[in-house]
C-alpha cells in the first residue's frame, strides 16, 4: 500500500516550511506574515502525520500532536488578528516595517 515514500512527504513539508519562513521574513503585510506562520505550522503537521504513518500506527502521538497544533494555530490566529487590528487602529497601517516603535 505504501506507494508514496516518506521522503516525498518530507520534501513537501520542507518546501512548505521554507515558503512560510520566507513569507514571515520578507512580506511587509502583517497578515501575510501571519499566513507564513500558518504555513510553517502546517508543514510541521505534515511531518507529524508522515512520521506517525511510517514509524508505526500503534502509537497515537503524531495524530494527537497534529490536532493540538491545529488548535493552537486557531488560537494564535485569533490573538494575532486581534493584535493586527489594534495595530491598524493605532498606526493606520499593517506594514511591519513601519511599526518600529520599540527601536532602541
Amino acid at each position: 500500500m505504501t506507494t508514496v515514500p516518506l521522503q516525498a512527504y518530507l520534501i513537501v513539508s520542507a518546501a512548505l516550511f521554507a515558503i512560510g519562513l520566507l513569507g514571515v521574513l520578507i512580506r511587509r503585510n502583517a497578515i501575510a506574515v501571519l499566513l507564513g506562520i500558518e504555513l510553517m505550522l502546517n508543514a510541521a503537521n505534515i511531518n507529524f502525520v508522515a512520521f506517525w504513518r511510517y514509524a508505526g500506527t500503534a502509537n497515537m502521538e503524531g495524530q494527537v500532536f497534529t490536532v493540538i497544533v491545529m488548535t493552537l494555530a486557531a488560537a494564535e490566529a485569533a490573538v494575532a488578528l486581534a493584535i493586527i487590528l489594534n495595530v491598524y487602529r493605532r498606526f493606520k497601517t499593517v506594514n511591519v516595517d513601519q511599526i518600529n516603535l520599540m527601536k532602541g
Partner: protein, 634 residues
C-alpha cells in the same frame, strides 16, 4: 558550691533593675521610687558576690559556659568565670556601686531626670559586673562597650549644659579610639588565633605554645590599646578630667572606682598573654610610669577639686599599669582594689562639698572643716590613704607596687622607681593642697560660710567607705585562699613580691614630704605658691595647661587627621570613585553600541532567530556541539 545560675544573677539583678526602672521609673509620679530596685538588686549582687568569693577561697575557680553563636568554625560562648581576680572584683564593684547608689539618693534629690539617672546607673552596674565575670574575650568586649556607653550617657547627664554634652562626646570618641585596638585584638584572635576566645582555653593555648610569639605580642599590645583608652593612660588621658562634668557620684563610681579600672582589669585578666610578651610588658610599664608622673604634675596646678581627683585617678591608674608592667601582678590588682575604695570615698566627699557650696573651685571654699566635720574627716582619711600613710590601705598597696618595681628585672626599672617615688610626693602634695585649701583656714565666700553637713543618706556611705579605706590593707595579709594569693588568676602565678625596709621608708618619707610642703604652702603659708608661680611662669603655665596635651591632640586632629582625611578623600574621589565610574561608563558605552541591534524590525529579529537555529543545527550535525534531542529517542 554556688550554682551557675547564681553567678549569672550577680550581673543579672542590676540589669533586671535597669529594665524595671526604664519601664516604670521614668514617670514623674513614680520617679521617687527609682532607687529602690537598684539598691535591692545590688544588695543581692553583693551577697552573691561575697558568697562567690568565699567559694573561690575555699574551693577554687569555677566556670560555667553556655552556647551562644556558631559562625563558621568560630564558636562564641557566653559564660561566667569565677576565680580569685573576678571574685575580688565582683565584691569591689558591687560594694562601691551599692554605696554610691545610696549616696545618690541624697545627692540627686530633686534633679530633673532622677529616674533616668538610676536607670543608667543600674545599666552600668550590671554591665560592669558582667564585664568582670565574663569568661571570654568577646563577651568582655560587649560589656566593655556597654560600660562605655553608660559612661557617655552619665557624663552627659545634664545634657542641656553644652560643656557636659561636649565632655560626653569627647570621652566617647577618645575611648573609642582605644577600643579600636581591643576590637582589632578580637579580630586578630578570630582570624589568626584559631578563634580561641575563652580565657581558659586561651591561657592553655598560649602556655602550650600553640600561639606564635608574635601573635601573643600583637594581641597583648592591641588589648593594651583598649586599656589605654578606658583607663585614661597617656596619651589618651585627656578625656577623664573633662568627664568630671557628670554628677559627682557618677565620677566616684565610673570614673574612679570601676570603669576606668576596667583597663587595668583587662590587662590583669589577660596577663597570661602579657607574661609571654616581654615587649608588651615593657610598653605597659613605660606608659604607666609616664602617665603616673604627668597626671600627678597636672593635679598640682588644678583648682577644680573634681579635676584634681581626676588627675589623681589617672595617676593611680598609671601606678597600677606600672605594677602590672614590671611583673607585680598581685600588687597592681591590690592597688586597684584599695584605690577603688579610697578614691570613691574622696569623690563622694568632694560631692558632699560641692553639694553644699555649689562650686567646684577650691579657692571659693575654705574653712569647711568646722561646718562639715564628717565630710572633712572622711576626706582626710581618703587623702591619707591615697598618699600612702601607714597604716591605711593605700600604704600597703602603694608599698606593694613600689616593691614590685624595685625588685623587677625589667630594663630601666630604676628610672621607673624614681618616677614612682616622685609621684608619691606629688600625690601627697596635691591631695593635701586640696584638703587644706578646702577644709581649713577661713571661708572665702558666702556659700562656704553657710555650708552645712550633708544628710545622713550621704554621710553614712562616706563613713562606711572611710572604714573600708582604713582596713582594706588587710587584704595584703593573704586571706587563706586555697588557690594562690588574693588576686591571682587561675592560669597565671608568680612568686610573691618581696618588700624591703628601704622601699617602705622611701615611700613613707616622700609622702610625708609632700604633705609637709602642702602644709607649709597652704596651711601655715610659710611658702607662697604665688611667688613660686611668678618665679617659674613656664612651669606653672605648663602644669596649668596640663602639659598642653589637649592642645597637642587638637593640633593632631586639625592638622594630621585633616591632612590624612584630605588624602583619603582624594583617593576616594579619584581612585575608588574613578574605578566605579569607569565600570559604569564601560557598561554605558557597550550598551549604547549594542542598542543599535534593537531596530524594532520584527522580521529582522525573526531572521536572526532563524540564523541561530540554522547555525545550531549545522553545529550539531557536524558533531561540534552535543545534540541531545537529535541523538536521543528510540
Amino acid at each position: 558550691m554556688p550554682a551557675g545560675s547564681e553567678l549569672f544573677l550577680i550581673p543579672g539583678l542590676p540589669l533586671l533593675a535597669f529594665l524595671l526602672i526604664a519601664a516604670f521609673g521614668l514617670r514623674p509620679q513614680s520617679e521617687r521610687a527609682a532607687p529602690a530596685p537598684i539598691i535591692a538588686a545590688l544588695c543581692g549582687s553583693l551577697l552573691l558576690s561575697l558568697r562567690a568569693l568565699g567559694h573561690v577561697a575555699a574551693a577554687g575557680p569555677q566556670q560555667v559556659t553556655l552556647d551562644w553563636l556558631h559562625v563558621g568554625p568560630i564558636q562564641i560562648d557566653v559564660g561566667v568565670l569565677l576565680d580569685n581576680l573576678s571574685g575580688l572584683m565582683l565584691v569591689v564593684v558591687s560594694l562601691v556601686s551599692l554605696l554610691v547608689q545610696i549616696y545618690s539618693i541624697g545627692y540627686m534629690k530633686g534633679e530633673i531626670g532622677y529616674g533616668r539617672y538610676f536607670a543608667y546607673m543600674s545599666l552600668f552596674s550590671g554591665s560592669m559586673l558582667a564585664l568582670v565575670i565574663s569568661d571570654n574575650i568577646v563577651q568582655t568586649y560587649v560589656f566593655w562597650e556597654l560600660v562605655g556607653i553608660c559612661s557617655y550617657l552619665l557624663i552627659g547627664f545634664w545634657y542641656r549644659r553644652p560643656s557636659a554634652a561636649a565632655a560626653a562626646k569627647k570621652a566617647f570618641v577618645v575611648t573609642r579610639f582605644g577600643d579600636l585596638g581591643f576590637l582589632t585584638a578580637v579580630l586578630v584572635l578570630s582570624f589568626l588565633g584559631y578563634g580561641i576566645f575563652d580565657f581558659t582555653a586561651l591561657a592553655h593555648a598560649a602556655q602550650a605554645g600553640a600561639l606564635s610569639k608574635g601573635l601573643i605580642t600583637a594581641v597583648s599590645i592591641l588589648l593594651f590599646c583598649g586599656a589605654i583608652g578606658k583607663s585614661a593612660q597617656f596619651p589618651l588621658l585627656i578625656w577623664l578630667p573633662d568627664a568630671m562634668e557628670g554628677p559627682t557620684p557618677v565620677s566616684a563610681l565610673i570614673h574612679a572606682a570601676t570603669m576606668v579600672a576596667a583597663g587595668v582589669y583587662l590587662v590583669a585578666r589577660t596577663y597570661f598573654l602579657f607574661a609571654l610578651a616581654p615587649a608588651a610588658l615593657l610598653l605597659v610599664a613605660i606608659i604607666g610610669s609616664i602617665t603616673l608622673f604627668l597626671a600627678a604634675t597636672m593635679g598640682v596646678a588644678e583648682d577644680d577639686i573634681k579635676r584634681v581627683m581626676a588627675y589623681s585617678t589617672i595617676s593611680q591608674l598609671g601606678y597600677m599599669m606600672l605594677a602590672l608592667g614590671v611583673g607585680g601582678y598581685t600588687a597592681g590588682v591590690f592597688h586597684l582594689t584599695t584605690h577603688a575604695f579610697f578614691k570613691a570615698l574622696l569623690f563622694l566627699a568632694a560631692g558632699s562639698v560641692i553639694h553644699s557650696v555649689n562650686t567646684n573651685n577650691m579657692w571659693q571654699m575654705g574653712g569647711l572643716g568646722k561646718r562639715m566635720p564628717i565630710t572633712s574627716l572622711t576626706c582626710l582619711v581618703g587623702a591619707l590613704a591615697l598618699s600612702g600613710i601607714f597604716p591605711l590601705s593605700g600604704f600597703w598597696s602603694k608599698d606593694a607596687v613600689l616593691a614590685a618595681i624595685w625588685s623587677s628585672r625589667l630594663p630601666g626599672h630604676q628610672v621607673m622607681f624614681v618616677f614612682a617615688l616622685i609621684g608619691v610626693s606629688l600625690t601627697a602634695f596635691y591631695m593635701f593642697r586640696l584638703w587644706f585649701v578646702t577644709f581649713t583656714g577661713r571661708p572665702r565666700t558666702e556659700a562656704a560660710e553657710h555650708a552645712h553637713e550633708a544628710p545622713l543618706v550621704m554621710t553614712v556611705p562616706l563613713l562606711l567607705l572611710a572604714f573600708i579605706a582604713v582596713i582594706a590593707g588587710a587584704l595584703r595579709l593573704h586571706v587563706p585562699f586555697t588557690h594562690g594569693g588574693i588576686a591571682e588568676v587561675i592560669y597565671y602565678r608568680r612568686e610573691p613580691e618581696t618588700t624591703s625596709a628601704l622601699v617602705i621608708a622611701g615611700s613613707f618619707l616622700c609622702a610625708v614630704a609632700g604633705i609637709g610642703v602642702a602644709w607649709a604652702a597652704y596651711r601655715a603659708e610659710h611658702i607662697s605658691s604665688a611667688a613660686f608661680n611668678a618665679r617659674f611662669p613656664g612651669v606653672f603655665q605648663l602644669l596649668k595647661n596640663a602639659w598642653y596635651l589637649n592642645r597637642a591632640w587638637e593640633l593632631f586632629a586639625t592638622r594630621v587627621v585633616i591632612a590624612g582625611s584630605a588624602l583619603a578623600a582624594w583617593f576616594d574621589r579619584h581612585v575608588v570613585d574613578g574605578m566605579v565610574n569607569a565600570v559604569a561608563w564601560l557598561c554605558g558605552a557597550g550598551s549604547r553600541e549594542l542598542r543599535r541591534l534593537q531596530t524594532g524590525q520584527v522580521q529582522l529579529y525573526a531572521f536572526v532567530i532563524v540564523l541561530g537555529i540554522v547555525a545550531a543545527l549545522i553545529a550539531i550535525l557536524a558533531g561540534v556541539a552535543p545534540g541531545i534531542i537529535l541523538r536521543g529517542g528510540r
